[in-house]
């Protein structure tokens, strides 16, 4: 005779096993896809962004070398301007999606030269930070605080993205000039 406790137990285990299987299959497929990436496929995943807008938002708080600006002309963009230049939350989502591709691009280089880990790890952390900023903005949108939260988080995310793309370009400049031309066109 099967009692209620046993039914709950079996149902719970079945639910857990199913959930674990689905999650594992989904992420293993993603991992496999990443490892099979080639240069062309990676570039196709990048979504075109307005590079001048990104630079304008980023260079409002940092200079070309990545140093934080402290002069009087820094941090002059207001919330509405940043919102417009970034393209709102959708624009940030595009940057977040491109971050994932940038990690794969860096990983692609690492496949040739594993010693490039130092740089790729920095890229990875930058991309993760942008994802974190986007998550915070999503949360702010849900709670109706997007307008006040957007400038603070979005500008940091854009600045991080800007620096990261520069680093990726520098990395490819060092390693492969033919690929660099493709990358510059896309980014």
């Amino acid at each position: 005779m099967v009692n209620t406790r046993t039914v709950v137990y079996l149902f719970s285990v079945a639910t857990l096993v199913t959930a674990l299987l689905v999650i594992a299959a989904h992420y293993l497929r993603r991992a496999r896809r990443s490892s099979r990436n080639d240069w062309e496929k990676l570039l196709k995943r990048l979504i075109a962004v307005d590079r001048s807008s990104i630079a304008e938002v980023a260079l409002d708080i940092i200079d070309e070398s990545g140093q934080q600006r402290r002069d009087e002309g820094s941090a002059t963009l207001d919330a509405a301007q940043i919102w417009k230049l970034v393209g709102g939350l959708d624009g940030l989502e595009v940057l977040a999606a491109n971050c994932a591709v940038l990690i794969d691009l860096a990983f692609y280089v690492q496949q040739w030269y594993p010693e490039a880990l130092l740089v790729t790890e920095q890229m990875r952390l930058s991309a993760r930070e942008i994802q974190w900023h986007v998550e915070r903005l999503r949360g702010a949108k849900k709670t109706g605080k997007l307008e006040s939260a957007f400038p603070m988080y979005a500008q940091r995310a854009v600045a991080t993205y800007y620096l990261m793309t520069r680093r990726i370009l520098a990395l490819y400049e060092l390693g492969n000039h033919v690929m660099l031309a493709d990358l510059e066109r896309t980014l």
């Binding site: 594992a24 934080q68 930058s126 991080t160």
Partner: protein, 258 residues
């Protein structure tokens, strides 16, 4: 304790497979990279030998206590192997990557809570309280290992930290085996060790066979060498170091701004 021919066959095959795997770890010098995994394999060899002698010359009680004491050690080492695989993947520079520390803590807590909850729900029909403890402990560890394996896959993909070749092979073997073991331990919990002793034995044989396949997979994969990395040219190395130095301060400067 009566052992059938199938029991003896699986026992011998397991001993031989572990011996071969341990030789592979020594000959290919994998023990340097995976000391805990090597210790786990070595402990299985010692365990088999110890149990064989206790079974031949000891009492039923001494076999029981030796079996379960070594079983606990085995479970502990399996969890330590998981730690070693996590360590190889998520500590790229010898430190836990800072973006995954919190997630790792939550994963660990969630794993233990879910496994403990399910273990509490299990009510295997048994004659002795010790049998219930044994069945529940096995179930708990199989849930933990399976969850940690899936958690590792998710974390590695989400964080963009790739598995190295041999880490991936060891993890996949242990992960798939843990998943199968979870189903088998669920069966053990459901059927218990009173009326369905035949079912209990069949499930145990199935578990041992699955583990043998896993060990065979490890033997082949750990014998093979990982793909050769290309040599980083000195000029590129110098430029990368300079690039890295400037990159290090980038994020800090952005974070400071309020």
């Amino acid at each position: 304790m009566h052992l059938t021919d199938l029991d003896l066959l699986l026992w011998t095959a397991g001993f031989g497979a572990h011996l071969i795997l341990f030789c592979v770890l020594l000959i290919r010098r994998r023990y340097r990279e995976f000391p805990i995994f090597s210790a786990f394999i070595f402990s299985n060899i010692v365990r088999t030998v110890a149990l064989f002698f206790v079974q031949q010359h000891g009492s039923k009680a001494s076999y029981f206590y030796t079996f379960w004491s070594l079983g606990l050690l085995d479970t502990g080492l399996q969890l330590a192997v998981v730690y070693e695989m996590y360590s190889h993947t998520f500590r790229p520079f010898g430190r836990w990557a800072r973006d995954i520390r919190d997630t790792l803590s939550w994963l660990l807590v969630a794993t233990i809570v879910v496994a403990a909850g399910l273990t509490c729900l299990a009510a295997p029909p048994v004659r002795l309280w010790m049998q219930a403890v044994v069945i529940k402990c096995n179930f708990f560890s199989s849930v933990c290992l399976t969850e940690l394996f899936v958690g590792m896959v998710v974390l590695a993909v989400k964080s963009g930290l790739p598995w190295k070749s041999h880490v991936a092979r060891i993890s996949q073997g242990l992960g798939v085996y843990s998943g199968i073991d979870l189903l088998i331990e669920t069966g053990h919990s459901y059927f218990g060790a009173v009326r369905h002793t035949q079912v209990y034995a069949v499930l145990s044989h199935f578990r041992m066979t699955a583990y043998l396949v896993c060990v065979a997979y490890w033997i082949v994969m750990l014998w093979r060498n990982a793909p050769e990395p290309r040599k980083l040219p000195d000029s590129l190395r110098g430029q990368l170091i300079r690039l890295q130095r400037s990159a290090n301060s980038d994020l800090e400067k952005i974070r400071v701004r309020k």
